[in-house]
Symmetry: C2
Subunit: 212 residues, 2 copies
DNA sequence: CCATGAAATGAGAGTAGCTCTCAAAAGATG
DNA sequence: CATCTTTTGAGAGCTACTCTCATTTCATGG
């Protein structure tokens, strides 16, 4: 889901029959990411330059850009979308859609946080503190949004490119984003999945006021 | 509303008692903006550099940055938020909230397009074509979102900083954004306000499916 | 009308993200 | 082991953006 809920790198163990080349690539990716997180923790995001990251990861700056198109991507990129999609398809076809969304998002977020709570927290903090990261996140989120649109289309037969479906998925994405920020702004207190539930309630039922 | 619906510059006539200094500042602002739009129309956004803009506007590059913090802002900035806020407050206090939103947004968008249809179209196109502009727009939109949150709070007594209100306003903003992009992607065909109505329907009632 | 203070401007140097090119190094393959 | 392919590093180059400082331009009170 391209989000604060990263699928962390597959552990070294479960890469058996990969060639040396592939294994090195994975290691480089991890080295860059780890270096970045470490430096950010020490000096903050803006003060951390690509050159520093390259140096600590023991690669050249060119290589950093070869692995990640932008600095923000180092912090944001994950490979969650396919997993999310899979889980989406695994739900019974006759399950009411809102319930599916709830389940899938909740599950994704929960898994992500469990994988590496530290990273989840740093990410959401960056989301709040660094506008560039926030923006980039939005972009990558909209990719996830397209995926949701596809899933909705498969379920309901609605046109995934229609204004209706697009607005709907956008609101989901936006809600998830806002919830992440809310969580971070409040010192990561409370259970994220619970917050998500509240957010989805709003999206489903509107604000809790008399004259809605 | 910090959006594709700019309040265009006040016409030279209605700036009576301003000092020469202030009048010059306004003129410079306009010169920069006009130069930018012209250049973008000729060569596209990315190909247009700050130096070119400065040259055509007959100011120094430093001055460009003195007036606009980023290149994207030259294209996006407007002074619509206060107007929107005013219109928001002008609505009867007992009007159902969704109706207020509908009216206010519709009105704002309509006015914006009428002011300068050309600019409205260029902006929405940039929104689709240039990720950086899209991101920046989202940022400025969230400011508008805070404004809505304040208005909602005044109306309903809900905490503007609560997760609920934030998620709700975010979905409004996102919907508006998505609608703008939809409009541009479809060659600006159809009536924008009508599209907005459809978008708001979705946000209010969810997707038009059986099992929602 | 001019002198003094304040604000706006221009010139220029500097930083950092990002792109591109090309030659060297390292893994894959028969 | 030789050859082919992929990955890497070095470095030049572009552009958005920041900062500083001297110069110009407007405002104001005498």
């Amino acid at each position: 889901m391209n989000s604060m809920t990263a699928a962390r790198s597959t552990s070294p163990a479960d890469r058996p029959q990969l060639g040396l080349r592939e294994r090195k690539k994975i290691k480089t990716r991890e080295a860059i990411r780890d270096a970045t997180y470490a430096l950010i923790k020490e000096q903050g995001y803006d003060a951390t330059t690509i050159d520093q990251i390259a140096e600590r990861a023991e690669v050249s700056p060119s290589t950093v850009f070869r692995y990640f198109p932008t600095k923000e991507d180092i912090v944001l990129t994950d490979e969650y979308d396919p997993i999310l999609m899979e889980e989406l398809r695994a739900r019974p076809a006759d399950e009411p859609w809102p319930q599916t969304v709830r389940h899938v998002m909740r599950e994704a977020v929960r898994t992500g946080i469990e994988e590496d709570p530290e990273v989840a927290r740093i990410r959401t903090r960056l989301l709040v503190d660094v506008p560039a990261v926030r923006s980039r996140m939005m972009e990558s989120m909209s990719v996830t949004g397209r995926m949701f649109a596809t899933a909705i289309s498969e379920r309901t037969g609605l046109d995934p490119d229609s204004l209706e479906v697009r607005v709907y998925t956008m609101s989901l994405i936006g809600g998830l984003m806002e919830t992440s920020m809310f969580w971070a702004e409040h010192g990561h207190r409370g259970d994220f999945p619970d917050l998500l539930d509240r957010a989805l309630d709003i999206l489903q039922n509107g604000l809790p006021v008399q004259n809605r």
